[in-house]
Symmetry: C2
Subunit: 339 residues, 2 copies
């Protein structure tokens, strides 16, 4: 099902995004346009065509499905779908600098190739490009007032993203993090944009603020469940599926939900986490202690709870047509994914 959705939307989405980047006023700086095309997966670092898919484009697919499920024409939502994907890629570029990450989608990160100053600037340009894409809504039949509402959601989402990013970085240095604070962090860092996708899609499809708020709730809960699944895979995921080494989040001491739960249950785990560095044996011990307190089961419970709330919010939204089945399939695929 998810592949069918991709086949339906992705060529038009890709064309819209390419048009935005092609139209960016970058005269005299074509080498800079390469730094924007590379993270979007269109070219390699030498500006040669790159034949592999990079991102999964989950956010724009969710947005376009929401437009259809709210009774609208998905093609009128393409500018917004391009905007959320460009925004997501901006945040990844800056995130990779902040986390000192060398690879993304199996390729060197932007900063690794062109250095941090250029990567900061490339991120800023994709941020601006996201707005330039969204502005394309002004060329559709959409009422200008609805466009201004969508713009406001987008602005708020961007501030939420920086809030989540801030908390994520602060929690790394903070000894105690409550589950509540953690959920607040991922509400900003992960769920805000997923929520905005569903809400903006529904607004474009219906111009109905009340209906769109049900979609927003659906997206928010789905985004939280999505992040918790990420947390589970970061510890118990199969390396051959996730493409990461085993227990990668333990090695980087990420304070993900299972770890926070474990730290609250087990003093020994706290003592382990305070060690200045981790050996492979330490990583194994952490996983064993997490298993002993059933941290994975706890995380799956939480994920399931948010997933069920998402499904409930979607029912409240009373989605229409084939796209309603598409939304459920997408949510289920994200809920059960191993990768």
């Amino acid at each position: 099902m998810t592949q069918q959705l991709a086949n339906r939307y992705l060529p038009a989405l890709d064309a819209t995004m390419r048009q935005v980047i092609a139209n960016a006023p970058l005269n005299g700086a074509e080498d800079f346009r390469v730094m924007l095309s590379y993270p979007l997966g269109w070219v390699d670092e030498n500006n040669q065509p790159y034949p592999h898919q990079t991102g999964k484009r989950i956010r724009p697919i969710l947005l376009l499905l929401s437009t259809e499920a709210a009774g609208g024409d998905w093609q009128s939502a393409l500018p917004a779908a391009a905007a959320v994907e460009l925004l997501h890629n901006f945040s990844l570029i800056h995130d990779d600098i902040q986390d000192d990450s060398d690879t993304r989608h199996g390729r060197p990160t932007v900063w690794k190739i062109w250095g941090r100053p250029n990567a900061i600037n490339a991120g800023d340009a994709l941020f601006a490009s996201a707005y330039a894409a969204l502005q394309g809504l002004a060329e559709t039949d959409l009422d200008p007032k609805t466009i201004l509402s969508i713009w406001a959601i987008f602005n708020r989402t961007n501030l939420e993203l920086t809030r989540g990013q801030h908390l994520d970085m602060r929690f790394e240095r903070q000894e105690t993090v409550t589950v509540e604070a953690y959920i607040s962090m991922i509400s900003g860092k992960s769920a805000a944009l997923v929520s905005a996708c569903a809400q903006i899609g529904a607004l474009i499809g219906s111009s109905d603020e009340a209906l769109a708020s049900h979609f927003a709730a659906f997206g928010r809960d789905l985004g939280i469940a999505f992040q918790i699944r990420d947390d589970i895979l970061g510890i118990w995921g199969e390396p051959e599926m996730t493409g990461k080494s085993a227990a990668t989040d333990i090695l980087s001491r990420k304070k993900s939900l299972p770890v926070l739960y474990g730290l609250a249950q087990s003093n020994e785990l706290g003592a382990l986490y305070r060690r200045p560095s981790f050996s492979n044996a330490d990583v194994d011990e952490v996983v064993e202690r997490l298993n002993a307190v059933q941290a994975q089961e706890y995380a799956i419970e939480q994920e399931t709870r948010y997933f069920q709330e998402a499904v409930q919010a979607l029912e409240d939204a009373n989605p229409q047509g084939k796209a309603s089945q598409g939304l459920i399939s997408l949510a289920e695929a994200l809920f059960q994914r191993n990768v």
Copy 2:
């Protein structure tokens, strides 16, 4: 005159900007709000009131004057004035990381206090805040279509800023830079935002796109002249006026306009510039060689040319009322400044 303008506009501008930052959805991250208030000059790094002025707020003053001179009410333009100042501060935060600059307005830079990852995020948040401020136009009497036009100018300006920043960074490593390429770079990095200020201000004041395009030309030429004056001060400015050490731009080997001119005129200067490092005596020799080829005179000629074109464009715009004198005074103050 410039002080009178400041007294007239700045309290309301400040209140608008503070409201935008106070309204940013940063719950649970009040420590992050400090990282946004600090570069705006409101607090010190410990969130205590900071009694000194930091930025000169030239851009929002220009915007508000343009609104009045185009026949409008400056108070309706406050959201846009706040937006351009927030945007300017975002660009300074990222610029300081990219240039590895330790101080700004006589204080440690954001990255110097909170580290690069936090500073990248603080810049991103001010970028998003600039849009949140601009969105305040939707609460005024302005026609939604005019707001969408202003939004489009803002988006284009942001892409221009990243283009200029890219060229500026690339030119540092590039042996030969033509004057034409240099003007293209500063058109993005410095003049695009100044131009947008005048254009957006005029659009708010008149909703007249043709009139606003004269203001845009005025701002563009003024912005270029402003940057060339910066270049002159960076070499020949009085340290006690500029607050920088003498010939600071020579020491950092900035390829500013007088240097580009000098490099084209003098092979000896080129040989000097290729040395791996500069002694104080080398700096003196560079300045002597620049003086010998009359590089300062050349730069003043160029500055004057752009200033005169700015004045001509302003005449074409036929500015109204007292604000028209204010615009001329502001332009003259920028043209003749020593600091």
